[in-house]
């Protein structure tokens, strides 16, 4: 099968790029605008996805009620992490956030009764019945497909994800243009100066962290709906690093650089699936997956070395330090 030519495959790549756009947008707000070194972004994605799935399967909630609660839970997790951790120096904060995301994953892996454990959401329901939480979502997808006369469910998902992504990008773009956004940037540049102007630095940082976490929560919901089953292993720290790569690739402190970075990343990630020309064709698919991550690691290193401001970044406003 020539997957390169198949529309379904590229629709899938587009959906994943859209989900990553929303995920990395949260990080752009936290780091690109507020200067927070959050390396635990994937935890908020997990909290959003699991909260929604658990409420639907175990409590019988409607998806449309459970989804906003998933977002609220992700934002609350951001506050919970930020209240103690934001008082630390930035390098300590970075390490504590990674630790936080690993703790969330440990809990999801080991609290079988709550999360289905390492088997994932497939074990959320009673024994013998595979749990289903995305029935309502699939019906919504069908409805969109019918209304817009789209050829497939994948295309419907593509449209929904990108409509939401563009709406959120616009919202964040508008928000960072308000006085609120200017205070965030002032804090990024010089915390003490912002504090001396009477700004409550901790409160602003907490807001940026919580809003960024909620955005990761949105990404988590779409991740759950797209893949229908997920497990704690889907929320490895690797995902956070992908988001970092997208934000830096696109450009720091630039809202519209996020979809550019996500598109390049999606292309790179999907494109490296096709590394099956000689001599690489002797490798099996697991080996090619390793090779793909090696390439992504090399791209991260190359960016840091060659273009620390990213594709669309402005060198005089923000460079990696």
């Amino acid at each position: 099968v020539n997957a390169l030519a198949s529309g379904g495959f590229w629709a899938f790549v587009g959906v994943v790029a859209g989900i990553y756009t929303i995920f990395a947008l949260g990080l752009q707000l936290q780091f690109g605008f507020a200067g927070l070194l959050n390396f635990g972004q994937v935890a908020f994605m997990a909290v959003g996805a699991y909260t929604m799935a658990i409420l639907v399967v175990k409590e019988g909630w409607s998806t449309w009620l459970a989804a906003p609660l998933g977002l609220a839970a992700a934002a609350a997790a951001g506050l919970l992490l930020g209240l103690p951790a934001l008082r630390l120096r930035s390098d300590y904060f970075a390490i504590v956030t990674i630790a936080f995301s690993e703790i969330v994953r440990y809990v999801a892996t080991n609290e079988d009764a709550l999360t289905g454990g390492s088997q994932g959401t497939i074990a959320l329901g009673k024994v013998g019945s595979a749990a289903e939480y995305n029935g309502q979502w699939t019906r919504f997808q069908d409805w969109v497909q019918g209304r817009l006369h789209l050829t497939s469910k994948d295309t419907a998902m593509l449209v929904i994800v990108w409509v939401v992504a563009l709406a959120l990008l616009t919202l964040v773009w508008l928000a960072v243009r308000t006085p609120w956004g200017r205070v965030l940037r002032a804090i990024r540049e010089d915390e003490d100066a912002a504090a001396s102007l009477g700004k409550n630095v901790l409160a602003y940082k907490l807001q940026a962290l919580a809003i960024g976490a909620a955005l990761a929560g949105v990404a988590g919901l779409f991740y759950a709906w797209q893949f229908s089953f997920f497990s704690p292993d889907d929320f490895q720290p690797l995902l956070t690093f992908f988001a970092w790569m997208i934000v830096i690739l696109g450009g720091l402190g630039r809202v519209w650089a996020v979809p550019v970075g996500a598109a390049v990343f999606g292309f790179l990630f999907a494109g490296t699936r096709f590394l099956d020309f000689r001599p690489l064709s002797s490798l099996d698919s697991a080996d090619r997956a390793y090779l793909r991550l090696i390439i992504i690691g090399l791209v991260i290193i190359g960016l840091v070395l060659v273009r620390p401001q990213g594709i669309l970044g402005k060198r005089d406003e923000m460079v990696l330090e």
Binding site: L37, P84, A85, R87, L88, R89, S90, D91, Y92, A94, I95, V96, I98, A99, F100, E102, I103, Y106, V107, T109, N110, L238, F241, W244, I248, A286, D287, Y290, L291, L293, I294, I296, G297, L298, V299, I300, I301, V304, L305, P308, L320, E321
Partner: protein, 294 residues
């Protein structure tokens, strides 16, 4: 049970402590939080496995070869990656991200070269030493002995030798040390050699203790190591040692049934972090770190 847990804690703690000192000296001299350190440890563990398993060498020569190989890799990485970044005056963020990229490259290269299957060293798993109420496996006894030796040597090196004192001086105040005539470039090379040797031995010991390991195991070791470094105060080598031992003991003792029923063993790494968070709230600069005056 208490004494058994205490002994286990010493074993876990000494492995964490050695790794933490490696991370800490690099941070002290280069201001680099090295995310690739766990994978450097995995590299050492796998080299030793290659010597010990297929080649049939004993554990001691295998460990020595692994340490040498890890130190060589560590110096080579300085030449191709860290030195160019220093030339560009890269800051904390750039260095941290580059180390994340490097961690990906290293880990996936190990997986590509060695495969994901778990493996074990050839030690007798049934040989048990009994000491009062404590039962220690051969691997645990080796670990305690080697770790104690390493920690003592390290202490003597840092406190008594000129090179060790120079390293600490550089980590205290780089500009002042350079003015005082310290050859910064040479100390950096020595730092990487030391970090590599420590990563090699810590990786081999961790592989011994864990009974079986795969190329991914470095990353799981990294988080308790980071916790130990932060607990001890970033950049303080003695702090890292103490932090590592304290965390190892806390992780094992937290499962003691007499202590509120004990924590489920799967949450041992979580205990490390809860402890870290609590300690940081009381002393944000770490147990041995100095409050930064700006």
């Amino acid at each position: 049970v208490f004494w058994q847990l205490l002994a286990n804690g010493l074993v876990t703690g000494s492995v964490i402590a050695i790794g933490a000192v490696g991370v800490s000296v690099v941070y002290g001299i280069l201001r680099l939080v090295n995310f690739a350190y766990g994978d450097l440890m995995a590299f050492g563990a796998l080299i030793a496995y290659g010597c010990n398993g297929p080649w049939g060498l004993g554990m001691v020569p295998s460990a020595l070869i692994a340490m040498a190989a890890t130190a060589a890799l560590s110096v080579a990485l300085d030449l191709v990656l860290w030195r160019p970044l220093r030339a560009r005056r890269a800051g904390f963020m750039s260095l941290f991200l580059a180390s994340i990229g490097l961690a990906l490259v290293l880990r996936q290269s190990l997986l590509l070269a060695a495969g994901p299957q778990p493996r074990s060293y050839r030690v007798d798993p049934f040989k048990v030493y009994v000491l009062g109420s404590v039962r220690l496996s051969q691997a645990q006894v080796i670990t305690i002995a080697v770790a104690t030796g390493t920690i003592l040597l390290l202490g003597v090196f840092l406190a008594r030798t000129t090179l060790g004192q120079t390293m600490r001086a550089l980590s205290d105040d780089r500009a002042l040390a350079a003015i005082a005539g310290v050859n910064v470039g040479r100390v950096i090379t020595v730092t990487w050699i030391l970090a590599g040797l420590l990563a090699g031995i810590a990786g081999v010991l961790a592989g011994l203790v864990e009974a079986s390991f795969d190329p991914n195991f470095g990353f799981h070791l990294l988080l308790p190591i980071f916790a130990a470094v932060v607990l001890g105060g970033i950049g303080s080598a003695y702090g890292a040692l103490a932090g590592g031992l304290a965390l190892g003991l806390a992780m094992e003792l937290s499962t003691w049934p007499a202590l509120f029923g004990g924590v489920n063993p799967v949450y041992k790494p979580v205990v490390a972090f809860v402890l870290l968070a609590a300690a940081l709230l009381v002393r944000p600069q770490g147990l041995f770190g100095r409050a930064r005056v700006v």
